[in-house]
């Protein structure tokens, strides 16, 4: 448990303090910086692919013309890196690690050394993934989904991908256990479950998802490794013939088994990508509308419901595999049901704006931008979740557009909101607001320039993962011109990340210093009780006590428009000073 914090910072050497740290805040920063570098790298892969799609065969400076094999590598690794090495580590590893203990009034995570191990598994998982580009015939090229038999007969990069995934999954499992124990055991006095900030709830449910969904994929990863290295045939049926003749495998396996195991993880994984983002947006919205989160409890019940149901919708990714009526009916029904709590949460975020006193700072812009963009992402999931309409759209750019709306202007916007919101907490200095606004508007326009055309391309039937961008087919004729628009938008998106990168790097040293500890005049403990910038192990100078819910903004009868959780107040309609809201 969180003992042994007696060593003060100055006694620790560089490696102990910055690399093998057991302080959740340092580990959060480690996660954050590593994940952002991976996001940038994954974004770079996307730029190369967009170049190829817009002008197939034209040489890329320094790299030359892409081959189909290179394109497939970039595609598979873009997906893998963005999901497993970028967004999840940033949303959970960085924000979760840094913010959750502070928001619940804990001195650290429950298992600090496990926390350190979790980061190092993640880091080495990333190194293995990157190294796979340099093995003979390059990285994995069977898509981020790694469907056998293709994945089984692919080159060495696929083996590296599997080892990398084993490390990443191990990291996530260790992290998930740590979050669960921390949130259950280390809440400070008065911090009941229904006084926890929505962000903590989101991380709590996410940890359950990670803990329960990842093991099947880890097992599946080992089975695929066995198929590749030990000659087993878990995913290989009999009678396979490739260009080199009949395959020498035992046979008798099923390629569909992999898909079930993969999607059993990968659908909850979608919620792992979304829930922490919703948590961040909820924090930023409540703080910048200066009013309580609308439907706080309803949102939490929806969150729990989402978490549970996310385990029984996975096969809606597999309607086209030949699914009969009974099974497809089950998965269509569960898919429609799971859309309802998502609608409830999104509605609550919309409604929170009503009656607020909205401060449009950079964090808020990204949070506000998240809501409609995630809305488009969610709505475009409807025709994919219903089997008949999935027929024309499955495996087309419509799917790509749909999930990119969810995770790019959706989750990534939320992550940006979180960075602008908590950067002063971490560094004691603020990010430049003007650069932040430029970053937001440029990203908003450019992202829509990339993802909106995808929906139209998909409606026209254009498949994903086409090296020539769909030129081979005549039915793509009317939507091919989008490829150029999307490439230009991708470059514009890059350009608008430059102000952010500059801002992020320079503000830590030269940014405006915060004038008070509670910079955003927030109610939650990380701002209202913990010092800014933070102190070392222990987090709080005195252990905070919580008296009321997390979003008591603009309480009638109070002069200040925020009431910190650690300060007793009289809430409207109550006579007891310590009742929950």
């Amino acid at each position: 448990m969180a003992e042994d914090h007696s060593h003060s910072a100055h006694q620790e050497g560089f490696w102990r303090k910055y690399w093998f740290s057991t302080d959740h805040k340092v580990i959060g920063i480690q996660y954050g910086i590593t994940a952002m570098l991976f996001l940038l790298f994954g974004f770079g892969l996307m730029l190369l692919m967009r170049w190829q799609l817009a002008s197939p065969g034209v040489e890329i400076p320094l790299l030359g013309a892409l081959t189909p094999e290179m394109y497939n590598q970039f595609g598979a690794m873009h997906g893998t890196i963005m999901v497993f090495l970028g967004i999840v580590p940033l949303a959970v590893g960085a924000f979760g690690n840094y913010v959750v203990p502070l928001q619940i009034g804990a001195p650290d995570m429950a298992f600090p050394r496990l926390n350190m191990a979790s980061y190092h598994f993640y880091f080495w998982g990333g190194v293995v993934m990157l190294a796979s580009f340099f093995v003979p015939e390059g990285a994995a090229k069977a898509g981020w989904t790694s469907y056998p038999p293709l994945a089984n007969i692919e080159t060495m990069g696929q083996t590296m991908w599997l080892w990398g995934m084993v490390l990443l999954i191990t990291s996530s499992l260790l992290g998930a256990v740590n979050f669960l124990v921390t949130i259950i055991q280390l809440r400070t006095e008065g911090m009941t479950f229904f006084k926890m900030p929505f962000f903590v709830w989101a991380q709590f449910i996410t940890a359950f998802l990670l803990l329960l969904a990842f093991p099947p994929l880890e097992a599946a990863g080992f089975l695929q490794l066995a198929d590749r290295l030990l000659g087993t045939s878990f995913f290989m049926p009999s009678g396979l013939v490739t260009a080199d003749g009949p395959l020498e495998v035992a046979g008798g396996g099923s390629p569909l088994l992999w898909q079930h195991l993969f999607w059993f993880l990968a659908h909850p994984e979608v919620y792992v990508l979304i829930l922490p983002a919703m948590g961040i947006v909820a924090e930023v919205l409540a703080n910048n509308t200066r009013k309580p989160l609308w439907g706080y409890k309803l949102m939490i019940y929806s969150l729990i419901f989402l978490g549970f149901f996310s385990f029984i919708v996975w096969a809606h990714h597999m309607f086209i595999t030949g699914m009969g009526t009974t099974i497809s009916a089950f998965f269509q029904i569960t898919t429609m049901i799971i859309s309802i709590p998502s609608v409830v949460i999104l509605s609550a975020l919309f409604i929170t704006l009503f009656g607020g006193s909205i401060r449009f700072n950079a964090a808020m812009l990204f949070a506000v931008g998240f809501v409609p963009m995630f809305g488009i992402g969610g709505l475009t999931g409807l025709p994919l979740g219903l089997a008949p309409t999935d027929i024309p759209l499955h495996d087309t750019y419509y799917v790509i557009g749909h999930f990119h709306y969810v995770v790019a202007p959706g989750t990534i916007f939320a992550l940006f909101a979180g960075i602008y919101y908590w950067y002063p907490k971490v560094t004691g200095r603020t990010l430049n607001e003007t650069l932040g606004r430029i970053h937001f508007w440029g990203s908003m326009i450019a992202m829509n320039g990339i993802f909106l055309p995808m929906l139209h391309q998909g409606m026209a039937g254009m498949s994903r993962r086409l090296f020539d961008g769909g030129l081979t087919y005549s039915f793509t004729e009317g939507v091919l011109h989008y490829n150029s628009i999307m490439a230009v938008s991708a470059v514009v998106l890059l350009l608008f990340q430059l102000p952010f990168i500059y801002n992020f790097l320079t503000s830590a040293k030269w940014g405006k210093k915060v004038t008070k500890s509670n910079h955003w005049e927030a109610t939650t403990l990380e701002w209202s009780a913990a010092p800014t910038p933070p102190i070392g192990h222990g987090n709080f100078e005195t252990v905070p006590t919580v008296y009321h819910g997390p979003y008591e903004y603009s309480v009638p009868g109070h002069e200040l428009d925020y009431c910190p959780q650690g300060v007793p107040i009289q809430l409207p309609g109550h006579t007891d000073k310590t009742v929950e809201s």
């Binding site: 002008s55 197939p56 065969g57 034209v58 013309a65 497939n72 069977a142 469907y147 038999p149 293709l150 007969i153 049926p237 009999s238 013939v241 490739t242 003749g245 390629p255 009013k291 086209i320 595999t321 030949g322 009526t325 269509q332 429609m336 309802i340 409830v344 919309f350 409604i351 704006l353 009503f354 009656g355 607020g356 909205i358 401060r359 506000v368 409609p372 809305g375 488009i376 409807l382 025709p383 219903l386 008949p388 309409t389 027929i391 024309p392 499955h394 495996d395 087309t396 409606m459 026209a460 498949s463 993962r465 090296f467 081979t472 087919y473 005549s474 004729e477 939507v479 603009s554 409207p572």
Partner: protein
């Protein structure tokens, strides 16, 4: 109302069941649009009205109205209607209501990297064995296969005659996608999965319709004059589809073939649109070029003649 999916760019529907899918697609998108159009003005109004400059002190209680609950209730009802009224019955028809075999064209489609092998049973109506070689061949030791015909990358059908495709794969997972027929089915090694549909439009009717809706021949001409340098890298990759595509009269040509013709001095190329088979599941390096065509003949006689011609 039912044409929204068409306005949104879905390809011309040439199948019997496609209209149901298209109508459902339209209604799903109407639902999405209505929801978006309800939320967007509310959202923009809030951002404008409750800007801190206009509204310096927030209202603690916020919205008390039940409208959002009604809206959520509306979403539940709309989704239930889509599910029960459209999705379940349409899927049941597609999966269960197979036509009589005696009244259908029956073919085996065996996918491989990177081609569609279409096997026709011949006059005896029975399929013989095929070899484990690449490319796939008829096993001559099996008498049932003596009159079988394999045509690579072209699926011949007869207008209004149902077709049952027994789909399989010999190497990796492919996906048999016929955008104009509203058909998509993964071809999974180790499994033979039947798919059926009825082509309601012949290829000649399809071309006439396309000529009306899309000035494709002009566009093809434009593409035929693309600077060839764009294709230098792509030429280095053998494309199995090309061998079957070169210059059959009236057939649509891929841009690569057009470019080769252009390089050979033939700049006036007229190409006709074709119903196509595309591979929708990543299947390896040349996945992008795993293209086939669907030729729907106006009469059974025309179909028989083509098969007879192809058998030797």
């Amino acid at each position: 109302m039912n044409d929204l999916s068409k306005w949104m760019g879905m390809p011309l529907d040439a199948s019997g069941h496609g209209v149901d899918i298209d109508i459902m697609m339209s209604w799903v998108h109407w639902l999405m649009l209505v929801l978006f159009l309800i939320w967007a003005p509310f959202f923009l109004y809030c951002l404008w009205r409750f800007n801190a400059k206009r509204h310096p002190r927030a209202i603690y209680t916020g919205v008390k109205s039940k409208i959002s609950s009604y809206l959520e209730g509306g979403v539940v009802i709309a989704e239930a209607v889509l599910l029960v009224g459209f999705a379940l019955p349409i899927w049941a028809t597609i999966k269960n209501d197979f036509p009589e075999e005696s009244e259908s064209t029956i073919v085996n489609v065996i996918a491989e990297q990177f081609a569609w092998n279409v096997v026709y049973p011949g006059a005896d109506g029975e399929f013989g064995l095929t070899t484990l070689t690449k490319p796939i061949q008829i096993d001559t030791s099996d008498p049932r296969g003596e009159d079988d015909v394999i045509i690579t990358n072209t699926l011949h059908l007869v207008k209004d005659r149902p077709v049952i495709v027994n789909l399989s794969s010999r190497d990796v997972i492919h996906s048999f996608a016929l955008p104009n027929m509203r058909v998509k089915q993964d071809a999974i090694p180790g499994l033979e999965i039947p798919v059926w549909f009825v082509p309601r439009m012949s290829t000649s009717e399809f071309r006439q319709q396309m000529a009306k809706e899309m000035p494709i021949s002009d566009d093809e001409r434009r593409r035929a004059q693309y600077p060839p340098y764009r294709w230098i890298a792509m030429r280095d990759y053998p494309d199995p589809a090309d061998s079957t595509m070169l210059a059959e009269e009236g057939q649509r040509l891929s841009t690569r073939v057009l470019t080769r013709l252009y390089e050979g001095g033939i700049t006036e190329v007229y190409a006709s649109p074709e119903m196509e088979i595309s591979c929708a599941q990543l299947c390896g390096g040349a996945h992008y070029s795993m293209r086939g065509t669907v030729i729907v003949h106006d009469t059974q006689e025309e179909f028989d003649a083509v098969l007879a011609e192809s058998s030797f």
